[in-house]
């Protein structure tokens, strides 16, 4: 396996598959922003080295695929990982916490010290949370553009986050935290996983 070299496109496809678990080329094309035919070519190549498994139009990554991904990340980004990436991560962490707090604020309200589900009866409160999310996505966009100078692949998350934000403003609140659509929360988490891979870090589990 050590002699197998992934292209950046292959890496994007594998990372997306890991997130989606099982997906068609069409779905992976949407997630990565890569054209469908390129995704299909990646699928072919990845299948031939055992990195993915295909059945009935759907693809799934394999443990070998995960290994390939990690190796690619270490090789490609290893050289970049240094003071700059560390500084970037230090700025990302608080923003990540703010984001999770904002999503939680959408879902729950504080009533006299206890958290209860948000009934969405208070328009002002909801607008305030949306505004928070907007502000955070704005800051994340800037951060992604910075890291994107080294890893252009990551800019896709900027586009997906802002697309979701657009839907939120258009009134489709599923795009805040629903798992069945490309909500900001979903995209943010996928982005976080990807960023951890690039930076070579583990998720900070205790903090949640």
């Amino acid at each position: 396996m050590a002699s197998v070299h992934l292209t950046e496109a292959d890496f994007s496809v594998l990372a997306a598959l890991l997130m989606k678990k099982i997906a068609t080329a069409g779905v992976i094309s949407d997630v990565t922003g890569l054209p469908s035919d390129q995704v299909c070519r990646s699928f072919d190549g990845l299948e031939s080295v055992g990195a993915i498994f295909r059945a009935e139009g759907n693809a799934m990554s394999t443990p070998a695929g995960t290994e390939l991904m990690t190796a690619y990340a270490d090789r490609t980004y290893g050289a970049l990982r240094g003071a700059e990436f560390e500084r970037w991560h230090l700025r990302f962490e608080p923003l990540n916490r703010q984001f999770l707090a904002a999503i939680t604020a959408w879902q729950t309200v504080d009533v006299g010290g206890t958290k209860v589900p948000n009934e969405h009866a208070d328009r002002e409160y909801d607008d305030g949370v949306r505004a928070r999310i907007d502000g955070i996505v704005e800051k994340m966009t800037r951060l992604l553009e910075q890291l994107g100078l080294q890893v252009p692949r990551l800019l896709r998350y900027r586009d997906r986050l802002n697309a979701a934000l657009g839907k939120i403003y258009a009134g489709d609140v599923r795009f805040i935290s629903d798992v069945t659509v490309d909500s900001v929360h979903n995209v943010w988490f996928e982005m976080h996983e990807d960023v951890l891979l690039v930076l070579g870090k583990q998720r900070d589990d205790a903090g949640g």
Partner: protein
């Protein structure tokens, strides 16, 4: 209260009344004062202890937007109002020895995002900070407040990041802690300003008046921020409304004794109990409470220590409840033993508290019936009806030591299930019908498929903002996170609570609100919460609505439950009862064996009567509606895979395809009535009737089957499910004792939609967003459909002997129900867990 000196606003350029002190303004003029300003005005004029202030009305913002600059003379007028504040507070703005500090906040007529945040402690400079230090006797406090102000001002007015200020200030604050001289605050100010200038080339003015103008300008500018403008565009709010600016004197919770700051609810926001609830931080300033740096005391405790003060406060809280006609949450500060109200809002509260307060406000005469009912939502009523663990079962489990641990309750709901430690295995197990609890250290998008399949989620790590918590809430599944007593060993597929190991597949129960975890499974009760304190509200709703509410049930226990919830009657689908008692197949076999011979189905009436007797007894005199066996829906359809059956025996699809079946059921009903002492009103209805001829035949068959003595107690009727039936309602009603319209079936048929479209959120939600339908068949009745229902209502009028009503399935739509009530429907059949919601919905509509 008019001021002693009339406000001199004769400067050219600035219209009279553009700037108003709280005591001068008219609180009803929200368009000019903004929401927050109007609230402060109202409280001031109601005699409540509000720190004094003034409002720069939206007029000025509009003028500035129009002319590109502030009106001439504006600065002078503001200066004059500051003077008045100085007089009122005996403090001086921008100078010692007792500096006046003000807060500046935006106040639009309609609240929107993107508006400027509040700037606190404006008026601070090196001189006044030193004066504040002397006055409070606390240099470090004064220094922190000063630095915070500089940061806030920079961030809000200059858009700078402010971090540099904090960093630059740190060494000076440490020095101040030990010693101070006349230069100390100057040096602190110098360092902060230098950092700010380096960061963004700006300085915070030291002159109070300049600071104030800068802040006011920032408020006006924020009206045109991208976010605010976008919000207005999306919500159809005019861009020329403008924003007001509220300038108010600050009070200090750490000045003199007793002093402090706190937040109080006029009633308990969790339970609705009429008791002051909140926290108080003696000697604390507002930001300290929010920052959570010190632990406040419970309000009840503080009240014991300062009884006179808090007796006053309780009085103020009640005055505010009168003024707002609602439960309120009050931010307050006590400075030198004087109480000041800073902010009042309608309090956020739980569903339970909302219902209880509405009921008690009604009983106390604070709200009319219409207002009380209008203040609650169906979502709140439904939340209380959610199924959960049976309370007795929980008590027993605790007594047996089955409570294993507790974590953080992240998503409400109570569920039992088999533990699965892996999302793939969870998904597999769920496919075979198992109830699964997904148990992991944490979750991530990789686990999503497992989370979707599970009935509940438990993680050992993480907090209320973790992935598991957010996703569980989005999926509306119970979830407990951060259970530190839990350890998981994925390799051996085991998990451990404290000392004991358990294997994957063990049964556990979790409570997503309390965070508790129990061994084994716990029985479910259909309605956990006792709603006794809210009875006044339900009673008022019933009185106003004067409607009959039937609940669909299948067992005697359910009969008792719905009557407890206030249903006036029950509706029983005989097909369901047969299915649950396992007699359905043999009944169908008997029907098919008879092969249309015309002979009565021997033995069947007696067997069916056996099933009906306990139900009649449980009904205890409430209205009893029996809906004839209909093989097309409900449990019967599931059990029989009706489509195949109907293909083979098409006559079963017609209401009178097997007249012997109608005969048998009517006989069963008669037998059951004879065997019980039930004396209420009985309905016997047949589904899918479309023609008056059918109705006449049903009536005839039933009359022949029921002995004369009982006949007049049984109203024979039809349940309409089709357009044709609805259009023929008048004619059908002529031979019927009752007529019921199934709303959802009618709409589905009218729109031509299958259940997959009618019963789900998507694809119709997306369809509606795209503007492809002018009306949502799941929740609204458009003109065309209303005409049909008006026809049915007319049928009732033309046939007073026929009782007419509607059947609302599932979580009924409030809008639709209200519309039907408005055109005269007063009898409703709902699902068994919707009785309370129905009572409130009808009451709300009746109260209008």
């Amino acid at each position: 209260m008019p001021a002693a000196d009339a406000p001199p606003q004769t400067d050219p350029g600035l219209a009279a009344g553009s700037v108003l002190a709280f005591e001068e303004a008219d609180h009803r003029n929200v368009a000019r004062l903004g929401g927050k300003g109007a609230g402060l005005v109202r409280m001031t004029q109601a005699g409540l202890p509000v720190p004094p202030g003034f409002i720069i009305t939206t007029d000025v913002c509009r003028e500035r937007q129009r002319d590109g600059r502030l009106p001439a003379g504006f600065a002078q007028v503001v200066a004059r109002y500051i003077c008045r504040l100085e007089d009122r507070t005996s403090r001086s703005f921008g100078r010692g020895p007792a500096p006046l500090l003000v807060s500046v906040r935006s106040g639009a007529p309609v609240s929107m995002p993107g508006m400027m945040d509040t700037i606190l402690n404006l008026g601070l400079n090196a001189e006044t900070a030193a004066a504040l230090a002397r006055e409070t006797g606390d240099r470090v406090f004064a220094a922190h407040v000063f630095v915070r102000f500089l940061r806030m001002y920079s961030e809000i007015v200059f858009g700078a990041s402010g971090e540099g200020i904090t960093l630059a200030a740190a060494p000076f604050i440490s020095k101040l802690a030990d010693e101070a001289d006349d230069e100390s605050f100057e040096q602190l100010a110098g360092a902060c300003q230098a950092a700010l200038t380096e960061d963004c080339g700006q300085r915070v003015p030291s002159d109070g008046a300049e600071q104030l103008m800068g802040a006011i300008g920032a408020v006006f500018d924020s009206w045109n921020s991208r976010r605010a403008a976008t919000y207005r565009k999306f919500n159809g709010i005019a861009d020329d409304l403008g924003t007001a600016v509220v300038v108010q004197a600050m009070v200090f919770g750490n000045l003199g004794a007793p002093s402090g700051t706190g937040v109080a609810f006029s009633r308990d926001p969790l339970t609705g109990e009429d008791a002051l609830f909140g926290e108080f931080l003696p000697g604390g300033q507002g930001e300290d409470v929010v920052a959570g740096t010190t632990t406040p005391t419970k309000l009840r405790v503080a009240a014991e220590e300062m009884p006179a003060l808090f007796a006053d406060f309780a009085g103020v809280a009640k005055r505010l409840e009168e003024l707002y006609r609602d439960v309120v949450d009050i931010e307050f500060t006590i400075e030198r033993g004087r109480l000041y109200i800073l902010q009042v809002r309608a309090a956020k509260r739980t569903a339970r508290a909302a219902l209880r307060c509405a009921a008690e406000f009604l009983s106390e005469g604070r709200l009319t019936e219409a207002e009380a009912l209008g203040s609650v939502t169906l979502a709140q009523v439904r939340q209380l009806a959610r199924p959960g663990f049976d309370a007795a079962a929980v008590t027993e489990a605790k007594a047996q030591g089955r409570r294993l641990a507790a974590g953080i309750g992240a998503s409400p709901g109570q569920v039992s299930g088999m533990v699965s430690l892996d999302p793939d295995r969870a998904e597999e197990a769920a496919k075979s019908g198992q109830r699964i609890l997904l148990v992991r250290p944490t979750t991530s998008p990789h686990d999503l498929h497992g989370m979707l399949a599970a009935g509940g989620i438990l993680t050992s790590l993480g907090g209320a903002t973790s992935h598991a918590a957010v996703v569980a809430r989005a999926l509306n599944k119970p979830c407990v996170v951060g259970c530190t007593a839990l350890t998981i060993d994925p390799a051996t597929r085991r998990f451990r609570f404290n000392g004991t190991w358990y294997g994957e597949g063990t049964e556990l129960s979790i409570d997503g609100s309390s965070g508790e975890i129990f061994a084994g499974s716990l029985a479910i009760a259909s309605s956990v919460e006792s709603l006794a304190p809210m009875e006044a509200l339900f009673a008022a709703a019933d009185r106003l609505a004067r409607s009959r509410i039937f609940a669909r049930v299948a067992t005697p226990a359910q009969v008792a439950a719905v009557l407890n919830h206030g249903a006036t009657g029950v509706m029983i689908r005989l097909g369901d009862v047969l299915a649950t008692s396992g007699r359905l197949q043999q009944t169908i076999d008997a029907v098919l064996a008879a092969r249309g011979s015309g002979m009565p189905l021997g033995g069947m009436p007696e067997q069916l009567a056996d099933l009906l007797v306990p139900l009649l007894q449980a009904a205890n005199g409430a209205d009893f509606m029996l809906r004839a066996i209909d093989l097309g829906t409900g449990e019967a359809a599931e059990a029989l895979q009706t489509i195949d059956l109907f293909a083979r025996e098409a006559r079963l699809a017609l209401p009178l395809g097997v007249p012997e079946l109608i005969d048998a059921q009517a006989r069963a009903l008669a037998l059951a009535l004879e065997r019980t002492d039930y004396h209420g009103r009985v309905h016997f209805t047949v589904r899918h009737v479309v023609d008056p001829n059918e109705m006449r035949e049903v009536a005839a068959i039933t009359a022949a089957a029921i002995p004369t003595a009982l006949r007049e107690r049984v109203a024979v009727g039809a349940t309409i499910t089709s357009l044709r039936g609805a259009l023929m309602a008048s004619d059908i009603a002529r031979s019927a004792g009752s007529l019921w319209v199934e709303v959802r079936s009618l709409l589905a048929g009218a729109f031509g939609y299958p259940p997959a479209v009618m019963l789900t959120a998507e694809p119709l939600d997306d369809y509606l967003r795209r503007g492809l339908l002018s009306s949502d068949p799941r929740s609204a009745l458009d003109d065309a459909m209303m005409r049909i229902f008006l026809g049915v209502a007319a049928a009732a009028v033309k046939n007073p002997a026929c009782r007419v009503g509607v059947r609302l399935s599932g979580a009924f739509s409030e809008e639709m129900t209200a519309a039907l009530f408005r055109i005269g429907f007063r009898a409703f059949i709902v699902d068994l867990d919707e009785v309370r919601a129905a009572r409130i919905a009808l009451g709300k509509q009746a109260a209008l």
